[in-house]
């Protein structure tokens, strides 16, 4: 039981990271109709901002993380204004290729700005005997609890925003049919801009949470990015909360296979299970089958 509780909390922590990234991916997919392959790269860039402010300039983590979030939002604005919006006549595949170009540009600029060395990143609350809580025999760090709480709170407020505000309604309208909502007077341009900013901020938070496990470096988000995509198909692209559920499921199943079956092949097993699942439920957990018009 002790092991299971530890695994559960670890899954909740990594699941929150995946969920934040997945929510960003699905937000952009729904409003811009393109996979954002650069989600991880944007997160990495702004994690570098936080890490540099923290380690080289010596600022407090409680100041640097909000600053990194602000720079993330700015990054989102810049990307939308200079790359996505001018590419209106470019097809979906073209937009995805633009995000690929963005990965190359961002990952090329990062070492020039911040150096090639990986930067170690501390946790929000350092792990020690004082900062942990006993729960059914398992010891859980305050940091894990804090990151889980802040991600869930952030996502919950995002859902509240989507459901109960007029801007949320505008986002949902754009997601369901951009052309029609434009004709009805929804400012789709601002909606797209906002979703890029939000996705960038979520990606950055995910990067900052995942950074202490290794260090801030160029490839830190590869795994998160991949898991975010799988979370989206597992949960279904049709809803905003489906990918979040998918993310927690992926994290939990990977941790469980990792511990109880095999650590070498856990990733492969999880992917195969996702493929089999997709075969029987081709639109994900909470997806609806869209009826095609001829």
């Amino acid at each position: 039981m002790k092991v299971f509780i530890t695994l559960l909390f670890r899954s909740l922590e990594t699941g929150s990271v995946y969920a934040l990234a997945a929510l960003g991916v699905v937000l952009i997919y729904r409003t811009s109709r393109a996979f954002n392959f650069a989600q991880g790269a944007i997160g990495t860039l702004n994690a570098f901002v936080a890490a540099t402010l923290l380690m080289s300039w010596g600022w407090s983590i409680w100041v640097t993380v909000p600053i990194a979030m602000v720079t993330a939002i700015l990054t989102g604005f810049v990307i939308d204004a200079f790359f996505i919006r001018p590419a209106a006549r470019v097809g979906h595949e073209g937009k995805q290729i633009i995000t690929l170009g963005l990965i190359i540009v961002i990952l090329g600029i990062t070492p020039i700005l911040f150096g090639v060395e990986p930067i170690p990143m501390p946790r929000f609350i350092e792990f020690s005997t004082l900062t942990q809580v006993e729960f059914m025999g398992a010891s859980i760090g305050y940091n894990a609890l804090f990151t889980i709480a802040i991600s869930i709170a952030l996502m919950a407020s995002a859902f509240w925003f989507l459901k109960f505000t007029s801007w949320g309604l505008a986002i949902r309208a754009t997601a369901s049919n951009e052309m029609a909502s434009k004709l009805m007077g929804v400012p789709t341009k601002n909606v797209t801009m906002m979703s890029w900013a939000t996705a960038a901020a979520f990606g950055t938070l995910a990067a900052i949470i995942v950074a202490p496990q290794s260090a801030v470096d160029i490839n830190m988000m590869n795994d998160v990015q991949m898991s975010a995509f799988f979370a989206c198909v597992l949960g279904g692209f049709q809803s905003f909360y489906g990918p979040v559920i998918g993310a927690y499921l992926i994290a939990l199943s990977r941790n469980l296979t990792n511990f109880y079956i095999t650590s070498t092949w856990s990733t492969v097993i999880v992917y195969v299970v996702i493929l089999i699942f997709l075969f029987f439920k081709p639109v994900g957990l909470v997806g609806k089958k869209t009826i095609k018009k001829v």
Partner: protein, 354 residues
């Protein structure tokens, strides 16, 4: 006078043949490319340029397969890198077990085709974005296998290979191997041209517009989806086999999502549905940064890399239908220039557009 006339008629005939017969064009293009090793021996080109062009040729074959899949069937695959890697490892593995090069290649292609059929069958149920991410999962499984199945890939150590001996007689060297690559590329260009202009190509084209209407016209959608996936996997695997044969070293970290995305970029940047455009796309993505940008920004490391990203973005933004349209734009400009109405016409055209 007589001789001049006959000469001009001859030139006209040749010109006619080149503009009408696509096979002549591809062959001439191949002959031009196979001069590259010669140029590097003479000293006009750097030796590394040969390897660069080998890479470009190999990935032209890979990207042509993806081009058929995306352009003609409207399906998308994000597992390309996995198949290229599989081709490379497969031929090395079977060759290492005493099977002749040609048969080793054939067995590798056969296994890849079986996996292609599997994905094709999968695509009958799963559609659109879900299919794209599912193929991404297949690619990731491949990449995990490359890193962890030691008897097949020697894990992080990588596997070594040597220049193959064709049909047991023709031992290839670096320059002859390059010519072999060119021959294969031209052959695959012919194959793509024939597929596209056959019943299969027309059926795929109909499917890419609308599955339901294609079905109503009597196109068997499941069958052609399978065919499209098998074609794409075979092209990718062939690319992998050639990669192993030319570079003679395969290591597991090369076959990642980034490579898949770059192949996708080659197709989109070059021009969906265009054969020469595919080569152009690969050239823009691999050739231009290495040949010119690195010299241009020789002072600071990393700038050339950034500019290759910028280049991709710019080409996609200004030529959404592919860089292959650059030629047509030049042709139009030249025509206008020839008629002496360049400036006026451009302005008028702009006004008409507005």
């Amino acid at each position: 006078m007589e001789g001049k006339k006959r000469k001009s008629r001859l030139i006209g005939q040749i010109k006619n043949k080149f503009s009408k017969n696509i096979y002549y064009r591809f062959t001439a293009f191949g002959v031009l490319l196979s001069l590259i090793p010669l140029l590097s021996t003479v000293g006009i080109m750097k030796v590394s340029t040969v390897s660069l062009f080998a890479y470009i040729i190999i990935f032209t074959i890979v990207a042509m397969g993806l081009n058929i899949l995306i352009g003609y069937s409207g399906l998308i695959s994000l597992g390309t890198a996995g198949f290229v890697g599989f081709g490379a490892y497969g031929v090395v593995y079977f060759y290492g077990h005493g099977i002749p090069y040609e048969f080793a290649a054939l067995i590798t292609l056969l296994i890849a085709a079986l996996i292609g059929i599997f994905i094709g069958l999968f695509s009958l149920k799963v559609d659109g974005v879900y299919l794209a991410i599912a193929t991404l999962a297949v690619g990731e499984i491949f990449s995990q296998v490359f890193k962890k199945v030691t008897w097949f890939t020697n894990a992080y150590g990588g596997v070594h290979f040597k220049f193959p001996k064709l049909f047991g007689v023709l031992q290839l060297q670096k320059s002859t191997m390059f010519i072999f690559l060119v021959v294969m590329m031209v052959l695959f260009m012919f194959i793509m041209y024939n597929i596209v202009h056959s019943r299969t190509g027309r059926a795929l084209m109909a499917m890419s517009r609308s599955d339901s209407s294609a079905q109503a016209m009597g196109v068997s959608v499941p069958r052609y989806r399978l065919i499209a996936f098998i074609i794409a996997t075979l092209f990718a695997t062939t690319g992998g086999i050639l990669y192993a044969s030319f570079f003679r070293y395969v290591q597991p970290l090369d076959w990642n999502l980034m490579l898949t995305l770059l192949v996708l970029a080659m197709v989109v940047v070059g021009g969906v549905k265009s054969i020469i455009g595919t080569f152009l796309g690969v050239f823009v993505i691999y050739g231009v940064p290495t040949l010119w940008l690195e010299d241009l920004f020789a002072g600071t490391e990393g700038i050339a890399y950034i500019f290759s990203g910028v280049l991709i973005i710019i080409v996609v933004m200004f030529y959404p239908n592919g860089a292959v349209n650059v030629f047509q734009d030049f042709k139009k400009l030249y025509k206008k220039y020839k008629n002496g109405e360049l400036k006026i016409k451009v302005k008028k055209g702009q006004k008409a557009n507005e």
